[in-house]
C-alpha cells in the first residue's frame, strides 16, 4: 500500500518538491487524512498517517539535506516505511520523563533504552527517535534522531495485541548500544523536545481530520439504519429521543469541524496553533467515543454483532 500510494504521489503531499513531494500546504494533507478514514480498516489509515504526518514533519523541517536525501525521499516514494519512537513504558503522555539516552562517542551516537506503542514498528525501515542527549533541564536536553531499524542492537520485542486497529502493527522496541552516525541527528542537539512538540501539531490535525470524517460516516450510517429499522410500529428514528440525540451529536460534530477548519486556517496564516490543535485533539477524540457509543446503542442488538460496521467503529 505504501508503494501504491507513493507512486500515485500521496505520501508527500506537503513535502518539498525537491525530494519528490507535491509541495502543497497542510490543508491538502488534512483532506487526504479525511479520505483515509473512509477505509474500512482504521489500522491502515493509522499506518499511512505515521508515514505522512507523524514521523516525517521534523525531518522535513529540520533535517539536513543529506539526511532528507537518504530518508525522506524514499519515504515519500513509498520505498521505505517510517515510524515514530517517543512514548516509552515509563512515560507516554509525560514526554519529558522519557529515559532513552543518546551518548556522543566520536562520530557516532550510542543509543540505549526502549520505546513503546510504536505504530508501524514491525515493518518500519527507520524510526524518528526522541532521546536524552545531554544533561540539563528536561525540555532542553533531548534530540531527535533517525535510527535505521536494522542497526545492530535494535530489537523489536513484540507486536502488541490491541482492542482494535488490528491491521496496524504496534510494537515495543529496545535499544542496546545502538550506534548511529553523528549526521543522523535531526537539526540541533537539545532541540528535540521542541521539534517533537511541533511534530505533534501535524499529528493532531491529521488525527482530528480523520476522526471528524469517521464521525460523519458513523452518524450517516446510524441515521440511515434508524430511519429504516422498524419497532413498535414506527422507525427508530421516529422516536423523539433518538432524533434529538442524533441532532445534538451532529451539532457537536459541526462545532468540532469548525475548530478543525480554524486550526488549518491559523496554521496557513502562520500562527501558533498549539492551543487550538490541542483542543482539536481533545475534543475530537472525546466526541468520537461519545458518538460511536451513542450510535451503537441505536443499532440495538445488531450493534453488537460483526454484521454491521458500527461495532467496528466503536
Amino acid at each position: 500500500i505504501f508503494k501504491l500510494l507513493g507512486d500515485a504521489g500521496y505520501l508527500g503531499i506537503s513535502k518539498p518538491v525537491e525530494y519528490g513531494g507535491m509541495g502543497l500546504d497542510i490543508s491538502f494533507e488534512a483532506v487526504a487524512a479525511e479520505a483515509y478514514s473512509y477505509i474500512a480498516s482504521g489500522g491502515v489509515a493509522m499506518g499511512i498517517g505515521i508515514q505522512c504526518d507523524i514521523a516525517t514533519p521534523a525531518l522535513t523541517k529540520y533535517g539536513s539535506e543529506d539526511l532528507k536525501e537518504m530518508y525522506l525521499r524514499p519515504t515519500i516514494s513509498g520505498d521505505v516505511v517510517a515510524c515514530l519512537g517517543v512514548s516509552e513504558v515509563g512515560g507516554g503522555s509525560d514526554v519529558a520523563a522519557l529515559r532513552t539516552s543518546a551518548r556522543r562517542d566520536g562520530d557516532e551516537w550510542v543509543i540505549n533504552g526502549g520505546k513503546m506503542w510504536t505504530t508501524n514498528g514491525a515493518q518500519a525501515d527507520w524510526m524518528c527517535l526522541l532521546a536524552n542527549s545531554s544533561e540539563g533541564p528536561v525540555h532542553r536536553n533531548k534530540s531527535l534522531f533517525i535510527v535505521p531499524m536494522t542497526t545492530p542492537g535494535v530489537t523489536v520485542h513484540r507486536v502488541i495485541e490491541k482492542m482494535g486497529m488490528h491491521a496496524s502493527d504496534t510494537t515495543e522496541t529496545t535499544f542496546e548500544d545502538v550506534r548511529i552516525p553523528a549526521n543522523h541527528l535531526i537539526g540541533e542537539e537539545g532541540k528535540g523536545f521542541l521539534y517533537q512538540m511541533q511534530q505533534f501539531q501535524n499529528e493532531r490535525i491529521s488525527i482530528g481530520a480523520g476522526v471528524i470524517a469517521a464521525m460523519d460516516q458513523c452518524l450517516e450510517l446510524t441515521i440511515e439504519y434508524t430511519s429504516q429499522r422498524q419497532a413498535f410500529g414506527r422507525s427508530i428514528l421516529d422516536n423523539q429521543y433518538v432524533h434529538y440525540k442524533l441532532a445534538e451529536l451532529q451539532t457537536e460534530l459541526e462545532c468540532t469541524r469548525a475548530l478543525y477548519h480554524k486550526c488549518i486556517d491559523d496554521y496557513l496564516a502562520g500562527e501558533d496553533i498549539t492551543p487550538i490543535a490541542t483542543m482539536l485533539k481533545l475534543k475530537s477524540s472525546r466526541l468520537v467515543r461519545q458518538v460511536t457509543d451513542e450510535c451503537l446503542q441505536f443499532w440495538g442488538g445488531m450493534g453488537y454483532t460483526d454484521d454491521d460496521p458500527i461495532s467496528r467503529m466503536f
Binding site: 507512486d7 500515485a8 504521489g9 500521496y10 503531499i13 507535491m22 502543497l24
Partner: protein, 267 residues
C-alpha cells in the same frame, strides 16, 4: 562507420483527436433508494462518481495517446454543474481538455440517450475527432443506446461492447462481447466505440495529475447553444423496488426438484 537513417514507421492510424464521453452517476457502491414520489431514486446528498464504463473509455483513449495514435483527447459530459467534477477526473486520468454541456439542476434525469447522442453529434461536428469512445452503458439507466444512436446520426461505423481494440492499416479491429460469445469486427475510421469492463484496467488519478488537471480547460455550453432539443421522448410512469426475495425451498433429490419446478410453473 555509416549511419543509416532509419525511417520510423509511423502509426498508420493518423488520428488527430479522440472524443470521449463520460457521465456523472450515483456511485456503484451506494445503496439505492426509491424516492417517496416513486418517480425516481434519491440523488440528494448521495455520493456520485464517474460511470465505471466511462472510466474504461477514458483509459482506452489515454493508452491510445500514449501509443501516439491520437494527439489530443477531448472529454465531454452532459449534466448539471457537478458534472464538472467528473470531467476533472477524466482530465486527471489524462484527457487534455473538457467540454461541459450544462443542463439545469434537476433536469439531468430527463436527459435521455437520444438527446445526449444529438448533443455529442453536434460536438463531433465542432471538434472533428476520428474516434469517439463512450462507456457501453450508464449504470443508472442501463440504456446501452447512446453509442448506437450517435453512430446512426453520424452515419459512422460502430463497435459496441468492445473488450479489445486494435489498430491496423487505418482501421480498428474490435472484439465485441456479445450474448453468444466474442465477435471480431473491423471498422473504418471515423468510428464510434463503446467500452466494456474488460477493455482495460483504468488507472488511478495520481495526485500530481489531479493538480495538473485543475489548470486544464473546460469549455461550457448549453444544449440550446448547440441547437439541440433535449426534451424527453419517454415518460417515466413509476419507479419501484424489485420484489423482496422470497425464502427458498430445500428438496431431497432431483426428481422432487423437477416436480416442484413444474408445480410452480417455472418449467
Amino acid at each position: 562507420k555509416q549511419w543509416y537513417q532509419r525511417s520510423v514507421r509511423k502509426a498508420v492510424v493518423s488520428t488527430q483527436s479522440t472524443g470521449v464521453g463520460c457521465k456523472r452517476v450515483i456511485d456503484y457502491a451506494v445503496k439505492i433508494r426509491v424516492r417517496p414520489d416513486a418517480l425516481g431514486v434519491v440523488t440528494d446528498g448521495v455520493k456520485h462518481s464517474m460511470n465505471p464504463f466511462d472510466e474504461n473509455a477514458i483509459e482506452e483513449a489515454v493508452r491510445m495517446k500514449q501509443k501516439k495514435l491520437v494527439k489530443e483527447i477531448v472529454v465531454a459530459s452532459c449534466g448539471p454543474t457537478q458534472s464538472q467534477e467528473t470531467i476533472r477526473t477524466a482530465l486527471a486520468m489524462g484527457a487534455d481538455r473538457g467540454i461541459h454541456v450544462e443542463v439545469p439542476k434537476g433536469t439531468e434525469e430527463s436527459l435521455q440517450p437520444l438527446a445526449v447522442a444529438k448533443i455529442f453529434a453536434k460536438l463531433v461536428e465542432k471538434e472533428k475527432p476520428d474516434v469517439v469512445i463512450l462507456g457501453k452503458q450508464a449504470i443508472d439507466d442501463d440504456s446501452n443506446q447512446t453509442t448506437q444512436l450517435l453512430a446512426g446520426i453520424l452515419n459512422w461505423p460502430q463497435g459496441t461492447m468492445a473488450s479489445v481494440v486494435e489498430h491496423s492499416d487505418g482501421k480498428l479491429k474490435i472484439t465485441r462481447e456479445v450474448d453468444g460469445g466474442l465477435e471480431d469486427i473491423s471498422v473504418n475510421l471515423p468510428a464510434v466505440i463503446s467500452a466494456d469492463l474488460r477493455l482495460n484496467e483504468p488507472r488511478y488519478a495520481t495526485l500530481p495529475n489531479i493538480m495538473k488537471a485543475k489548470k486544464k480547460k473546460i469549455e461550457k455550453m448549453s444544449p440550446e447553444d448547440l441547437g439541440v432539443d433535449v426534451s424527453p421522448r419517454i415518460k417515466v410512469l413509476k419507479v419501484v423496488d424489485p420484489p423482496v426475495r422470497e425464502a427458498g425451498d430445500k428438496v431431497p433429490d432431483v426428481a422432487t426438484l423437477m416436480s416442484k419446478l413444474k408445480e410452480k410453473g417455472h418449467i
